[in-house]
Symmetry: C2
Subunit: 369 residues, 2 copies
């Protein structure tokens, strides 16, 4: 490879050195990662998910296997494989349909596409999507997922995918209208854009975690789920900043949202973004500990899974060429590219007060006083 | 009232006499309907849901109480009241935001609004909606619904509302793009536009029906749910045809979809529409009977509830001035207005073959051969 190292390319507005990450959670990775990756690559090649060698290289640069095996470090390999394949498909979809950054993509078109995807998942054979590798891969996933899951688990997948599509449509609508969301709007809806429920559905399924519905859907556990999704989302915003800074429209992320909010530069907003993220992380740890005190055994496993979702996402993005050698700066992904992040033991903002954002207040209210 | 009777106003393309309805299901109405209606009217007045006396008259002309008490003829009155209030709110929303028939309404705007609604339901206090009576009424409903339901029941409400918003956005996207859906697309997505899952969530909640998840989300029961939603949707299309035939864009309904499909007039398409509807109804009855043979007691209650959903909707729309004295033809609703429908004992199309539509094939596949 003759591609220059990351640091010699045009720096993003927030620089190449991300602030140290506060995440006191032990990382882990599924022991089957290597063989799962080989199987995943065979699958994407079988379906010709990528049009050419360069697209294929970028598809593999998502490190979908590493992502999946870090956020789900235990559990059934066959189900974990399905999640890996779903991620390959979802990244291809995201880059080709949802988040192209083009103002020419209409929300109406995306909503129509999303409705087709959601319904084809729920109704086998509905054939609402045009022909092509992305559709063929999707149909394969739908059939295998249905076969591998119980009805309740399958419902988690369908609702999780719908939630992610719902977030993607919202983001596209803002792009079309040239709107940078307010901080409150962004905090409220960002976990859906990230596909939080979809990833966590698979974490439950692959690990065989069966939290009773009235525990899983209780206020505090739902709040904690959104809080975890928020931390992962903000971290994703930092790792994605460079990747998306040459789009036609200014990308919606926590840095740009705060730059608008505080009327400052992205570089100045970075500190505020990390503060928001760290306060959310502090809440996650406190609320999780509180819930754990009275949790049943399956809920305890879910609380553990949420932790892996956060730390696994950081570890993955740090070393995924998709983020560490972004495509808007590199013709092909750089093997071994890394953000080389550092860590810190304390939050940058130790405040345990609720963020001054209506959408987040309810999360903090779950804390026993 | 000096408003002329329906039959002297401009006739819709499909006429004022709807073809006889095939629906061999015994109707029923909740015994508390009268006192519930009084309470519902007090609520809409308390919140000033309607801007003026004329809007208020049209709001009451939705007969939301009659609808709710017919599709849920048994069960807890307090929870049924909540469903009635949700319907008042939803009709106001539909007429003011979603289905105005104006091409100026953008999908991006609707998607943004929907995201706010969905999130405000899930996250109390998120305050993502502007001030106003519709918001105040919504916040009241959110709080009361949360207090009256278990976490699993509340999840049914949130997912049900999301499904309805998802359908509304799809419809709006077609309007914006000037697209009349193909028959297959329409059949696939129409149950969501109708809010099927939302209404049935409330049917489960008010009647205290607790179907085990793996039964409720089994293929055959989900197919049956979509089939019931389809019948109700097509019936709604017939009763709504006149109401929406003066909009800026041609309304998406089963008649206009089939007129496009067969390249014929709406009047000619009406017969095909009833055939599609009746074949779907025949499937409903056969599949319901099949499922009942091995159903547990709670699932049996749900199967009963689906029947009430179908027959109750017909009875309600037949006599609701919203449909029987449509606003595009009457300044104020006509008291006692009725479509005066008739009934038939057999389907117009007795075929038990699957509709030649990919999206529907899976429904018929649920029948044991």
């Amino acid at each position: 490879m003759t591609t220059p190292p990351v640091t010699t390319t045009r720096a993003p507005a927030i620089g190449w050195q991300l602030p140290p990450f506060y995440c006191p959670i032990e990382p882990a990775v599924h022991p089957g990662a290597a063989r799962l990756e080989a199987r995943a690559i065979a699958w994407v090649d079988e379906f010709g998910l990528y049009e050419n060698a360069v697209d294929r290289a970028w598809g593999l640069a998502t490190h979908s296997t590493d992502f999946s095996c870090r956020i789900i470090p235990h559990g059934d390999e066959e189900k974990l494989l399905l999640f890996i394949l779903w991620n390959h498909w979802a990244f291809a979809l995201d880059d080709n349909v949802h988040d192209t950054g083009s103002a020419a993509t209409t929300t109406a078109g995306i909503v129509d596409f999303n409705a087709r995807v959601a319904r084809c998942l729920e109704t086998p054979g509905a054939a609402l999507l045009g022909a092509g590798p992305l559709t063929a891969a999707f149909e394969d996933l739908v059939g295998r997922t249905r076969a591998a899951t119980t009805p309740v688990q399958f419902r988690l997948v369908t609702e999780g995918l719908r939630d992610w599509l719902f977030g993607a449509a919202w983001q596209a609508g803002n792009t079309e209208r040239g709107i940078m969301p307010t901080l409150s709007d962004y905090v409220a809806i960002r976990p859906s854009v990230n596909g939080t429920r979809f990833s966590l559905a698979w974490s439950l399924i692959a690990q065989g975690i069966e939290v009773p519905g009235d525990e899983l859907y209780s206020d505090s556990v739902q709040a904690l789920t959104d809080v975890a999704g928020s931390v992962v989302s903000y971290d994703n915003d930092l790792f994605s900043y460079a990747k998306e800074d040459s789009q036609q429209t200014l990308e919606q992320n926590i840095v740009n949202v705060l730059a608008q909010h505080h009327r400052c530069s992205p570089q100045e907003a970075l500190r505020a973004a990390v503060a928001v993220r760290d306060r959310t992380m502090v809440l996650f740890l406190r609320l999780r500990e509180q819930i754990a005190r009275s949790a049943g055994p399956e809920l305890l496993r879910y609380l553990e899974a949420l932790g892996h979702y956060i730390v696994g996402s950081i570890q993955w993005m740090n070393a995924a060429p998709r983020y560490a050698s972004p495509r808007n700066r590199h013709i092909v992904p750089v093997p071994g590219a890394s953000w080389n992040i550092t860590w810190r033991d304390t939050p940058t903002d130790p405040s345990t007060d609720p963020l001054p954002v209506p959408a987040a207040a309810w999360w903090w209210k779950q804390l026993a006083t």
